[in-house]
């Protein structure tokens, strides 16, 4: 066994060194330097752990610690595999086109005290995020969306998952309260003791458990809207309204497996919050469009008990409490104002301006966007990320 462990650890050592060399030799854009440094540090830490294993083997400690050295070797194998196959990719691919998204995400992280030191990268897939602070974060976005401004606001939803992770104990408590209250609402007035009653009880448990993930997704939508204002509504609406029938309706069996609520329900709640925040015009348009598409599809709204109108006050209060806990950036009046953008304003203002330009004159939009992105990328990073929230705390 000693020989096997020695060989495997030497393999790991070689692999870690090759990866560190590849990462440090790669010329990265300035926006990715912090992420690259964090990934290199993690790989260096793993290399150090491999050295420990080899030292223990040289000292003959495998007689006392056979399970520990084997388990550590397996753990490091998986850890290095994660970096090799998933987390190093955004650095090694070195795409200039990543800079736009990296700046949007960099600004987002910089204006929230929990994330100011969490480095992030971008990769290509459907919108999602891998948020496990303090580990480096990867945001995913489809390739075409990365090249323009219009769908960048959808990162604000993904950022919500990171904020949830930063406040996980408090958020989980709030979700637990919501699940308890929904369970009480679902409780039947009288209990039978037959096979149907047992099936109903199982379904009630599925519904209640489903709300763990659904609550987080609705919270992320609320975060997206609170940060991005009308730009988030437009991006959400345009990206999701036409994709597929299941965005409007799912069978009861499918609902229990869905990580997200049916998108029509998300749209409804987004419309409600948008009106609360004074984004009435965008909210009205979105509501009409979803109703029109649902009508054309011949779909009537039905969530089969996974959502009832009587849940709404509970959900709303929970989301409000979660927002208080997370304290996201709140778009300002200036962010939504239809004025030319300059770098004294925020990224949120730029994204709202982009949607205004797109909706006003679609033909000239590509040229406008090209110039806006060019201007954004010319700004020195230290001028763009001036919103370090720790500075506010000190004053």
């Amino acid at each position: 066994m000693r020989t096997i462990l020695q060989e495997s650890n030497l393999d790991l050592l070689s692999e870690a060194e090759r990866l560190i060399t590849a990462l440090t030799d790669t010329l990265v854009v300035p926006e990715l330097v912090a992420y690259r440094d964090r990934v290199v540090q993690a790989c260096t830490d793993m290399r150090e752990q491999v050295h420990h294993n080899l030292r223990d083997l040289e000292l003959g400690r495998d007689d006392i610690l056979p399970e520990e050295i084997l388990s550590e070797t397996q753990r490091l194998t998986l850890g290095l595999r994660l970096y090799n196959r998933r987390l190093a990719g955004p650095i090694l691919r070195g795409l200039e086109s990543d800079r736009l998204s990296l700046r949007v995400i960099g600004w987002l992280h910089a204006v929230h005290k929990e994330t100011v030191d969490v480095p992030a990268a971008v990769s290509t897939e459907e919108f999602s995020i891998w948020p496990a602070p303090p580990h480096p974060v990867v945001y995913f976005m489809p390739a075409s969306a990365q090249c323009g401004l219009l769908y960048q606001p959808l990162f604000f939803h993904e950022f919500g998952h990171l904020l949830y992770a930063c406040h996980k104990p408090e958020m989980d408590n709030l979700v637990q309260d919501l699940q308890t209250e929904i369970a009480e609402l679902l409780e039947p007035l009288a209990r039978r003791n037959d096979i149907h009653a047992q099936a109903e009880e199982r379904q009630r448990i599925i519904i209640v458990l489903t709300w763990y993930k659904w609550a987080q997704e609705l919270f992320c939508d609320a975060i997206g809207l609170t940060i991005g204002g009308t730009a988030f509504i437009h991006a959400f609406n345009r990206y999701l309204r036409i994709s597929q029938r299941t965005e409007y309706h799912c069978s009861p069996d499918e609902l229990g497996l869905r990580p997200h609520p049916v998108t029509w329900l998300r749209a409804r709640l987004l419309v409600r919050r948008a009106r609360e925040l004074g984004c009435d015009t965008a909210a009205d348009a979105m509501e009409r469009q979803w109703a029109t598409i649902a009508n054309t599809l011949g779909i009537a709204e039905d969530y089969y008990g996974f959502y009832e109108d009587e849940f709404l006050p509970l959900i709303w209060q929970t989301l409000d409490d979660m927002l208080v806990e997370a304290e996201p950036y709140h778009f300002t009046e200036q962010d939504l104002r239809n004025e030319e953008w300059d770098h004294g304003f925020t990224v949120v203002h730029l994204l709202n301006q982009a949607w205004h330009q797109f909706q006003t004159d679609m033909d000239s939009y590509p040229e406008w966007e090209h110039q806006a992105v060019f201007d954004l990328l010319r700004i020195p990073l230290e001028d763009l990320w001036t919103g370090d929230p720790r500075a506010d705390d000190e004053t």
């Binding site: 006392i64 520990e68 753990r75 998986l78 637990q176 369970a183 458990l209 763990y212 997704e217």
Partner: protein
């Protein structure tokens, strides 16, 4: 917008728990064999804190699930629920023999900082079985994140 975030968080949590288990277990075994390792000793203190936090989570979720009448675990992420269920199944089926699976979790937390030799030996057995549980759990995450070869 996929749900990979849960899997990724679960993978990282399991990695950290495994590291803490291995570090503390190695420290205890060397100590019990009269071998001093200052560097490992310092790392073991951090591992105790990491394991205490993990056992607190496990205990709170298991308390919800292990009622006379089985109850759903509320406010608990689905991957942790699966780990808790594996733990409870292992407890009820006597799959493991260490006190982690026969005594209340609060007893194990007390062992974490004990200097008594008997307690340290008991803790080593608990850590070995906890390692098996977590290693079995992490492979579901690996399948999703790394696409098993």
């Amino acid at each position: 917008m996929t749900a990979d975030w849960l899997t990724f968080q679960s993978f990282q949590r399991s990695q950290e728990v495994l590291k803490a288990i291995n570090t503390l277990s190695a420290h205890l075994k060397l100590t019990l064999n009269g071998i001093a390792d200052e560097e490992l000793s310092q790392a073991a203190s951090q591992s105790v804190e990491a394991l205490r936090a993990f056992l607190n989570e496990l205990e709170a979720a298991a308390r919800q699930a292990d009622q006379t009448e089985p109850a759903p675990m509320l406010g608990v992420d689905p991957r942790l629920q699966q780990l808790v269920r594996s733990y409870l199944v292992a407890r009820h089926h006597r799959r493991f023999r260490s006190c982690l699976f026969t005594e209340p979790i609060s007893d194990i937390k007390a062992l974490l900082t004990s200097n008594a030799r008997d307690d340290q030996e008991a803790l080593v057995k608990c850590l070995a079985e906890l390692r098996v549980l977590v290693e079995e759990h992490i492979y579901d995450d690996v399948d999703q994140i790394l696409d098993a070869i």
